[in-house]
C-alpha cells in the first residue's frame, strides 16, 4: 500500500490547510476591497445631460453652493436647481450656447432635466443634509473638492463605516458655520488647532452624532 501514496503526500493536509487559510484571506481581502462602496462607487462620474462644470461655477466664479442648492440648510435633500435658476444668469450670458439648449428648453416647457444621480445611499438610510450643514459639517467631507471638478465624481465611499468614522469622532471635521460651504477652507492654525476648535464646538453646540440605528434607519 505504501506505493499508492508518495511520501510527499504526508504534507498534503498541511498544504491544504495553508492553502485554505490563504484563500480565505484573499477572498476576504477581495470582498472587502472590491465589493464595498470604496471600490464600487468611488470614481463614478457619469456623463450628465448638460456638461455643467462645478470648477467654473463654484471654483472660478466663486458661486456659493447654496446659490443653486438653496434648500440644503432646511431640507434633507440638497435640491438640484430648477432650470429657471440656471436661466437667472444664462439669460444674460451665453444665451445662445448650444450646450445650454437642454436648459433653455426645460425652463421654457417645465420638463425636468434628467440629471444622473451620483451620490446615493440605500433606501433604508435617511441621510439629512440640513442636519449636517447646520452643525458645522462641510460639503467637502462627503463630496470632496467639487469646486475643482469639471465632471462631478463620487470620491468618498459613503458606506456605513465611512459615516460612523465621523459620528464616533466628530471633532476633526466640525468647522465654523460660516465656512461650511467654503470647500477649500482649512483651519489656519493647522490640524491641532482644528482639533481644539472642533472639540470646543462639539461641547458648545452639544453635538452628539447618533450612533444608534434610529439616527439613520427608520
Amino acid at each position: 500500500m505504501s506505493t499508492l501514496f508518495p511520501k510527499s503526500a504526508n504534507r498534503l493536509p498541511l498544504q491544504i490547510a495553508i492553502f485554505l487559510v490563504i484563500l480565505a484571506g484573499v477572498v476576504s481581502a477581495g470582498v472587502t476591497y472590491y465589493m464595498t462602496p470604496a471600490y464600487t462607487r468611488v470614481g463614478y462620474a457619469p456623463v450628465q445631460p448638460v456638461p455643467f462644470s462645478h470648477r467654473i461655477h463654484a471654483g472660478e466664479l466663486g458661486l456659493d453652493c447654496r446659490y443653486c442648492h438653496n434648500f440644503v440648510e432646511r431640507s434633507g435633500f440638497a435640491n438640484i436647481p430648477t432650470a429657471q435658476t440656471c436661466m437667472n444668469c444664462h439669460n444674460q450670458i451665453k444665451t445662445q450656447s448650444p450646450l445650454l439648449a437642454v436648459v433653455r428648453e426645460s425652463a421654457k416647457t417645465g420638463q425636468p432635466i434628467p440629471w444622473v444621480r451620483i451620490h446615493q445611499v440605500p433606501d433604508f438610510v435617511y441621510f439629512n443634509h440640513a442636519a449636517h450643514i447646520n452643525r458645522g459639517v462641510s460639503c467637502v467631507e462627503c463630496h470632496g473638492r467639487i469646486d475643482q471638478m469639471d465632471v462631478v465624481q463620487h470620491v468618498k465611499p459613503l458606506s456605513m463605516g465611512f459615516c460612523l468614522n465621523c459620528h464616533r469622532n466628530p471633532a476633526p471635521v466640525i468647522r465654523p458655520l460660516n465656512e461650511v460651504t467654503n470647500l477649500g477652507w482649512t483651519n489656519p492654525g493647522g490640524p491641532a488647532a482644528q482639533l481644539r476648535q472642533g472639540e470646543k464646538f462639539v461641547h458648545d453646540w452639544k453635538i452628539k452624532p447618533p450612533l444608534s440605528c434610529s439616527g439613520c434607519h427608520r
Binding site: T40, P46, F71, E73, R74, S75, G76, F77, N79, I80, P81, T82, A83, Q84, T85, S106, A107, T109, G110, Q111, P112, I113, P114, W115, V116, R117, Q120, P122, D123, F124, Y126, N128, A130, A131, I133, N134, R135, G136, L177, D204, W205, K206, K208, P210, L211, S212, C213, S214, G215, H217, R218
Partner: protein, 1096 residues
C-alpha cells in the same frame, strides 16, 4: 442555572377580572390553546402549500432568477428637478394645506400633508378650536380612497368610456335639453351637503328649471331631527352640546362619542370633564340608556340596557321624575325599568341644574328629542350646556317623493349626485327597478357602484383632495376644500357639474367658490380668500347662536299621534340599524384600512354580524355553554383555537329576510338585534365586495333606525369571522386598573395596590419612588444583573403616557398609525390567522363582577353575563428600557438608542421571530408575506403570483418610513421619523437663529401620529427629562402605572388608571368596578375594605 420567571397565575394575586370574549370567560379549550401561542394558530404555518410543493416552486424561481442575471451594476438613476421653480415647494420637506373633509351635512377641518405634490397624511386642523387638531378614523382613512385603484377612472355613457375632453359638453347638453320645458321631468337626488356654493348653485338650478325637483337622501341620520326643534321652539335650530360644562350627562340611546355628528368635539369636551388631575377635581358622571353596546356605553358610569323602541317611555318617565309634570305619564306605560334607577338619576340631575345635560340619539324620533329638550329647559341647561344654532329649514324633497314621481311616470331625467340609492334606499321603494322606468339616469359618483350600473351616464367624481369646494363645519363655520393634486382620472368636481347644469357662465370651481365665500367674509376679496385658504376656515361665519323658549303647547303636536308601547320577546325582536364604526353607511366599504380596523366593541374586522344578546344566544342555543359542560362536550362547532366560527342565521322582518353570521355581544338589550349597515356591497371594489351582508335589504322608511317584529332562525351553517378580540391576549393580568371616583379621592395611588409592583424588588417597585422620574429614565439600577444595560445619555428621553380614564376606543389612533407608518393590510383570511399588522391596537375587556368565572379559577359561570362593564386600552410597543425582545435577537436587529427608544433595524432582521416570542405585550408584528408587493388573494402563489404594488397605492406611502418586506419584524417606533425630523428641524432652526447649542426641541414640537389624532387627548408623548413637559407631569401623577411592571421591563409607555364615577344612590351601585369585586372579596386586603370595616 436558568432562572425561570414565574408569571403569577391569573388567580389570587393578579387583581382585576377582565375577559375579552365569551371563550375566555368560559375557558373553552379553543381559547386555552390559543393562549399558549405567541401568534394565533396558523399564524406561523403555510396553508394550502406543503413543503414539497413549496420547494418545487422555489427551485423554479431560482432557475428563472439565474436566467435574468443581469443586475450586477447599480442602475443609473435620475434626479428630476422642477423645470420652473414652484412656490413653497421644498424638495424633501412636506407641505401642509388646510382643507376639509365633507361628510353628510357638515365637514371636518383637516390639514393634508403632501410630499412632492401627493397627499400622504391627513391631520385635524388645529386652527379649528373645537377639535384642536384631532381627527376621526374616517378622516384619516379617507386618504386611501384617493388612491383606490377601484375608483371610477373614466366617465361612462351606456357603459362605454367618454373622451374626457367631451364630458363638459355632455354635461352642458344635459342641462340644455331641459331648458325649454323649464325642467319638467327633471329630478335631482343628491346626498346631504353643507357647501354654501352648492346651496347657491341649487338656487340657480331652480331658477333655470323651476319645474324640476331637488331631493336629498342620507340613509343614516346623525344629527337631531329639525322637526323636534320646530315643534319645541317654533324655529329651525340645531343643538350644539357643551359637554365640557356638563357634570351630569344622560344619554338616551345616543352614541355621542362614536357615530353621532360632531363626535370629535363631544369626545374632546367630555374628556375635559372626565379627566381628574388631583383628588379635589370634580369628575362628570354619565348615565346611558341604550340598546346596543356603543363606545359611549363603554364610558358610562351607569348603563341601562333598554330597547331603542322603549327609549321614548324611559325618556318620558325621566321627564316625569325631573319636572314633576305628569303629562308624560301615559307614554311610560309598559316600561320595565326599576323606578329607583330613574328616581336616583333624576335626583342627581336636579342637584345639577344648569350643569347637566340630556342627549337623545339622532335616530330616535322627534318625540324623544322634544322630551330631552323639555328636561334640559326645566333644568336650566339651555345656553349653559346646550346651545342652539339657527339653521335654514331644509326644503329638499325626500327620496320617497322621488319614488312617487317615478311611479307616476313623470320623470324623464334623474340626476343622482353622490349617494348610492340602489344600495341603501329604503327597501320598499325597490329603487333598482324604479330606475328602469326612468328614460335617462345620470349618475355623478366616485365609484362605479350599484347605482352606476343602473345609470345611463356615469360622471366620475373627484376626491375631496383633488377638488375645489367649500363646506360648513357642524357649527356653521365655512371651511375651504382645496385640491392638493390634479384630478388623477380627469374627474369632475361637484361644483363644476352643478354650475354647468345650472347654465352658469363661469364653471371653473375655484371661481365659483371664490364668488360664494368672499362676499360672506367682506373686505378685500383677494386678501380674504388667501387668509381663508391659509387658516382653513373663515372666522365668524358660523351659525348664530340663538335664545330659544320652549313652547309647551306646540310641542304637544308631536304627541298627538298615539305611540304604542310594544313588548319584545324572543319571537318579536327589535332590529336596530346602526351606522358602522368603520365603513359608516357603506361609503367606506372599499377602504382597506377601515375594513381591517377591528370594531371597537365587537372587535370584528372585514365583516358585520347579526349582534345578539347572550340571552338570545342561549335561547337559540349558540352561546358557549358553562365551562364544565363544555369540557365534556369538547366543543368543535363554535370556536377553533381563537377563531370565531359563527353560526349563520336568518333574520325575518316584515316578510323580508337576510342571512348573516351571529355574534353574541354581551351588554346588548335582551331582545334587540343590532345590524351594522354598510356591508354586503356587490359593486364596491376588490376590498369591499363580499364583506358581510347588507342590512339595507330589510330596512324600510318606517323602520330606518329600528323596527320591531324580527325573528331569528338558525340555518345550521357556520362561517369564520375575522374576530380580533382574542388576538394578542395577555391572560387577564392586572392590565387595566380601575377604581371608583370615591375610592380615588381617598387613595389617589390606588393603582399601586392592584398588581404586583408592591411585591417586586426595590429596583422599580414601590421603593422606586425614592428616585425622581428623571433619575429613573437615565439611571438603571442594575439589580445584580449580569446583562449590560443600555445607556440613556441623549438629551431627550422619550416617553408616553396613556390616560385610560378618557380613552373612548374610537380607533383614530389605529388608522393614523397605519397611514403614518406605511402599515399594510393583510385581508380577512390573514386576520383570521392573527396576522394583522397594526402597531397599535385597542384592547377591549369586559368584566362582570361574577366570582365564579372559569378564567379565574372558579367553577365556571352558570349564567352568561349580560350586563358587563367594558374597559378599553390602547397597546403599542411599550418601549421597555430593559426590553426582553432585545435580549433574544441573535443579530442585534432590535437594540436601544440613547434616547430610550427600542429601535428596529429592518435591514438587519433575519426573521427568527424570537423577539415576538419574548415580548410580554405581544406588540411585535411579523411580515409573513410581502403584503405590499402581493395581491391579497394570491399570497399563497409565492413567486408565481403577480408582483408589484399598484402605482396608485405607492403614492399613498409616507416617504419618511421604510416600506417593509417579507420576513422582517416590525413594531411601533414612537414615530421615530417624526422624532428625528423634528430634532433636525429644531437644530437647523436654532443654528440659523444663531443658537446652535439649543438642541432640545420644546414640548409639543414633536407629536406621534396617534397622539395627534386622539380627540380625547388620552395619549401624551414627549421628553421625560423636561420636568415641565406634559408627559413628565402625567407620569408624575399618582395613577401612573406600568403594564406588567413587575417584570422589570421598565416600559417608557405607562398608563393612567381608569376611574368610574357611579352614583351611590343608584340601585345598580357597586362600590368597586366590576373587575375588582371578586379580588377584593377574596383577598380582603384592600385598604378600602379595611377602612370601610373600620368605619362601620
Amino acid at each position: 442555572m436558568k432562572r425561570v420567571v414565574q408569571h403569577p397565575e391569573p388567580s389570587e394575586l393578579s387583581g382585576p377580572r377582565y375577559w375579552r370574549s365569551l371563550g375566555e370567560l368560559t375557558q373553552s379549550p379553543g381559547f386555552k390553546a390559543q393562549l399558549e401561542r405567541e401568534f394565533p394558530e396558523g399564524a406561523s404555518s403555510i396553508d394550502g402549500v406543503d413543503r414539497r410543493h413549496f420547494l418545487k416552486i422555489m427551485a423554479a424561481s431560482f432557475a428563472l432568477g439565474g436566467l435574468g442575471l443581469s443586475g450586477c451594476r447599480r442602475p443609473e438613476l435620475h434626479i428630476l428637478p422642477f423645470g420652473k421653480s414652484v412656490e413653497n415647494a421644498i424638495p424633501g420637506l412636506p407641505l401642509y394645506y388646510a382643507s376639509a373633509m365633507p361628510i353628510r351635512g357638515y365637514a371636518l377641518p383637516i390639514l393634508a400633508e403632501t410630499h412632492q405634490g401627493r397627499p400622504t397624511k391627513i391631520e385635524g386642523n388645529p386652527t379649528y378650536a373645537a377639535y384642536g387638531g384631532a381627527s376621526t378614523l374616517l378622516a384619516q382613512a379617507s386618504l386611501l380612497e384617493l388612491y383606490d385603484p377601484d375608483r371610477a377612472t373614466a366617465h361612462l355613457k351606456d357603459g362605454a368610456p367618454v373622451d374626457p375632453t367631451a364630458v363638459a359638453a355632455l354635461v352642458d347638453s344635459l342641462g340644455g335639453a331641459h331648458e325649454a320645458t323649464k325642467g319638467a321631468g327633471l329630478v335631482f337626488l343628491a346626498d346631504r351637503s353643507s357647501s354654501p356654493t352648492r346651496a347657491r348653485l341649487v338656487k340657480s338650478l331652480r331658477k333655470r328649471f323651476p319645474k324640476s325637483v331637488w331631493a336629498e337622501y342620507e340613509p343614516v341620520r346623525d344629527e337631531a331631527p329639525v322637526e323636534a326643534a320646530l315643534a319645541c321652539f317654533g324655529r329651525p335650530v340645531k343643538p350644539l352640546y357643551r359637554f365640557a360644562k356638563a357634570k351630569r350627562i344622560v344619554s338616551l340611546d345616543s352614541d355621542f362619542l362614536g357615530t353621532e355628528a360632531d363626535n370629535l368635539a363631544h369626545t374632546r369636551d367630555f374628556s375635559q370633564g372626565r379627566r381628574v388631575l388631583k383628588p379635589t377635581d370634580e369628575m362628570n358622571r354619565l348615565y346611558v340608556a341604550e340598546s346596543g353596546f356603543t363606545v359611549t356605553g363603554a364610558m358610562a358610569d351607569h348603563r341601562l340596557r333598554l330597547a331603542s323602541s322603549h327609549i321614548l317611555a324611559f325618556a318620558a318617565a325621566l321627564a316625569v321624575e325631573v319636572t314633576g309634570n305628569h303629562d308624560f305619564e301615559p307614554l311610560t306605560r309598559g316600561l320595565e325599568v326599576k323606578p329607583e334607577w330613574i328616581k336616583a338619576c333624576a335626583a342627581d340631575l336636579l342637584e345639577h341644574r344648569g350643569t347637566s345635560l340630556v342627549v337623545a340619539g339622532s335616530h330616535q324620533p322627534a318625540q324623544v328629542h322634544a322630551i330631552a329638550y323639555a328636561i334640559n329647559a326645566f333644568l336650566g341647561n339651555i345656553q349653559r350646556t346646550i346651545d342652539f344654532a339657527a339653521i335654514e329649514a331644509p326644503d329638499a324633497a325626500s327620496i320617497q317623493d322621488v319614488a312617487k314621481a317615478i311611479q307616476s311616470g313623470g320623470v324623464k331625467t334623474l340626476v343622482i349626485l353622490n349617494g348610492n340609492p340602489v344600495y341603501n334606499a329604503p327597501v320598499e321603494l325597490e329603487f333598482a327597478s324604479l330606475l328602469k322606468k326612468v328614460p335617462q339616469v345620470v349618475r355623478y359618483g366616485y365609484y362605479v357602484d350599484e347605482t352606476s350600473v343602473h345609470s345611463h351616464i356615469h360622471l366620475a367624481a373627484t376626491h375631496y383632495l383633488e377638488a375645489w369646494g367649500d363646506a360648513r363645519t357642524i357649527d356653521g363655520t365655512i371651511v375651504p376644500i382645496q385640491p392638493m393634486i390634479m384630478p388623477l382620472f380627469n374627474g369632475l368636481t361637484e361644483v363644476e357639474v352643478l354650475a354647468r347644469l345650472a347654465g352658469e357662465s363661469v364653471t371653473d370651481p375655484y371661481t365659483q367658490v371664490f364668488n360664494t365665500v368672499t362676499p360672506l367674509m367682506g373686505g378685500d376679496s383677494q386678501r380674504a380668500i388667501e387668509k381663508f385658504l391659509h387658516d382653513g376656515l373663515a372666522e365668524g361665519t358660523g351659525y348664530s347662536l340663538v335664545d330659544v323658549n320652549l313652547d309647551a303647547s306646540s310641542m304637544g303636536r308631536l304627541f298627538r299621534k298615539a305611540v304604542k308601547f310594544e313588548a319584545l320577546s324572543e319571537t318579536n325582536l327589535e332590529i336596530r340599524f346602526i351606522a358602522d364604526y368603520k365603513v359608516d353607511d357603506g361609503r367606506f366599504t372599499n377602504n382597506g384600512w377601515l375594513q381591517e380596523c377591528p370594531d371597537p366593541m365587537t372587535r370584528l374586522a372585514w365583516d358585520n354580524a347579526i349582534l345578539i344578546s347572550p340571552k338570545m344566544g342561549k335561547w337559540l342555543g349558540v352561546a358557549p355553554k358553562a365551562a364544565p359542560l363544555q369540557v365534556a362536550r369538547v366543543e368543535a362547532g363554535n370556536e377553533i383555537a381563537g377563531k370565531e366560527n359563527a353560526p349563520i342565521a336568518e333574520l325575518m322582518l316584515g316578510g323580508r329576510k337576510i342571512r348573516g353570521p351571529i355574534h353574541i355581544q354581551p351588554g346588548l338589550s335582551d331582545y334587540t338585534v343590532v345590524l351594522p349597515l354598510g356591508y354586503g356591497r356587490t359593486r364596491s371594489g376588490r376590498i369591499g365586495n363580499g364583506s358581510g351582508f347588507s342590512a339595507y335589504a330589510i330596512r324600510t322608511s318606517e323602520g330606518a333606525a329600528y323596527a320591531v317584529g324580527g325573528r331569528l332562525t338558525l340555518t345550521g351553517e357556520h362561517v369564520l369571522l375575522a374576530d380580533a378580540q382574542e388576538h394578542w391576549s395577555m391572560e387577564g393580568r392586572d392590565l387595566i386598573r380601575e377604581a371608583n371616583y370615591q375610592e380615588y379621592r381617598k387613595h389617589p395611588d390606588y393603582v399601586k395596590d392592584i398588581g404586583l409592583e408592591a411585591e417586586t424588588p426595590p429596583v422599580y417597585g414601590r421603593d422606586g419612588d425614592k428616585y425622581t422620574l428623571q433619575q429613573k429614565v437615565t439611571e438603571i439600577p442594575r439589580g445584580n444583573s449580569l446583562y449590560k444595560t443600555p445607556e440613556f445619555t441623549g438629551p431627550d428621553q422619550w416617553g408616553m403616557s396613556i390616560d385610560l380614564n378618557v380613552c373612548t376606543g374610537c380607533n383614530a389612533c389605529v388608522v393614523a398609525c397605519q397611514s403614518e407608518n406605511n402599515i399594510p393590510i393583510v385581508g380577512r383570511d390573514q386576520v383570521i390567522r392573527g396576522r394583522e399588522m397594526h402597531w397599535i391596537r385597542i384592547d377591549r375587556y369586559f368584566s362582570d363582577g361574577k366570582a365564579d368565572a372559569a378564567a379565574f379559577g372558579g367553577p365556571g359561570n352558570r349564567e352568561l353575563p349580560e350586563d358587563p362593564q367594558a374597559s378599553l386600552q390602547p397597546v403599542a410597543c411599550q418601549q421597555c428600557e430593559l426590553a426582553p425582545c432585545e435580549m433574544v435577537c441573535p443579530v442585534a436587529a432590535t437594540v436601544h438608542d440613547s434616547e430610550g427608544l427600542n429601535v428596529m433595524a429592518y435591514n438587519r432582521c433575519i426573521g427568527t421571530r424570537y423577539c415576538a416570542n419574548n415580548c410580554p405585550y405581544k406588540v411585535r408584528r411579523f411580515n409573513y408575506f410581502d403584503w405590499n408587493q402581493r395581491e391579497l388573494n394570491d399570497l399563497y402563489m409565492g413567486p408565481l403570483g403577480p408582483e408589484g404594488m399598484p402605482e396608485l397605492l405607492q403614492m399613498a406611502k409616507n416617504p419618511e418610513v421604510t416600506v417593509r418586506m417579507r420576513g422582517v419584524m416590525e413594531k411601533c417606533t414612537y414615530c421615530v421619523q417624526r422624532i428625528e425630523n423634528g430634532k433636525i428641524q429644531w437644530k437647523a432652526k436654532m443654528a440659523q437663529a444663531g443658537h446652535p447649542g439649543d438642541v432640545v426641541p420644546p414640548d409639543g414640537f414633536i407629536k406621534t401620529a396617534c397622539q395627534q389624532a386622539c380627540p380625547a387627548g388620552a395619549i401624551v408623548f414627549g421628553n421625560i427629562l423636561d420636568t415641565e413637559s406634559e408627559v413628565a407631569k402625567a407620569k408624575a401623577r399618582e395613577q401612573d402605572y406600568a403594564l406588567l411592571g413587575y417584570l422589570n421591563t421598565r416600559p417608557r409607555t405607562t398608563y393612567l388608571g381608569k376611574l368610574r364615577n357611579p352614583n351611590p344612590k343608584m340601585p345598580d351601585y357597586r362600590s368597586l368596578p366590576l373587575s375588582r369585586i371578586e379580588y377584593e372579596n377574596k383577598s380582603g386586603e384592600s385598604r378600602l375594605k379595611k377602612e370601610e370595616a373600620h368605619e362601620s
